[in-house]
Amino acid sequence: MEEEYAGDVVKRFLYVNRRMPHGTVYALESLETVLIGAAFDQDVTMLFIDDGVYQIKKDQQPESLEFKNFSKTYRALEMYDVEKLFVEQESLSERGLSKDDLLVDVEIISREAVVDLMEKQDVVLSF
């Protein structure tokens, strides 16, 4: 059913994550898209801004809600060659969070840099 794309176009894909995890399915289904997308050898960047920064917060225990804990999967992204993970400093600060609160190694960038990053993309996916 799934014909793998076999062309040689490489596009810059930006996944913008702006929502909290667990209250809605978007964070999980966005992550599933990134994992599937990794097979296509595109130039992938993940950006966490606004409430999206909570997606990679440490110590999540969604088992308390009978939800599966997908937060550990963010740590596995490297194995899928998804290595460009950015978090906006301003989004962290507003929420009283810092790099130490995050469960995966990311690069923290300013809002100004976020603006620049967005303007460099071919495809922007924000669920």
Binding site: V9, F13, Y26, E29, T33, F40, F127
Partner: protein, 130 residues
């Protein structure tokens, strides 16, 4: 130009599917190509043939089915999202041992890779959601 469309919400509850439909129609009428409409999240609920909306209201699924037939549109429902929401075709019915299917004409169920491929192949990807 080749334009791909992503629909993230089901019919009636949110305007997303209506907006996407109007956008797709206008795109085709403007002489552009709609290379794929991908339905993700609750968007897959647009693909059930079991709705019976009030007679004085639009029929969201029928509009998609008719437009697909007329313009040879590729309407793809994400399989993982379908499994979470209960959208089933013949193949899924067999695979998941279900006793019924509910997919409408003009839609097909396939993998999330089809969304990525749409993003690669199309010149623009436009998302409609909540």
């Amino acid at each position: 130009m080749k334009i791909a469309v992503l629909v993230n919400e089901g019919p009636y509850q949110h305007q997303a599917s209506d907006s996407a439909y109007q956008f797709v129609k206008a795109t085709l009428e403007s002489g552009h190509e709609v290379s794929r409409v991908f339905f993700y999240h609750d968007g897959v609920n647009n693909g059930t043939r079991l709705t019976t909306p009030p007679q004085d209201d639009r029929h969201v699924q029928k509009r998609w089915t008719e437009l697909a037939a007329e313009k040879d549109l590729d309407l793809v429902l994400c399989v993982a999202a379908c499994q979470r929401r209960g959208l089933v075709d013949e193949g899924e019915m067999e695979r998941n041992k279900k006793d019924a299917n509910n997919i409408a004409d003009g839609f097909r169920i396939s993998g999330l890779g089809q969304l990525i491929e749409a993003g690669i192949v199309a010149d623009r990807l436009v998302t409609f959601g909540d």
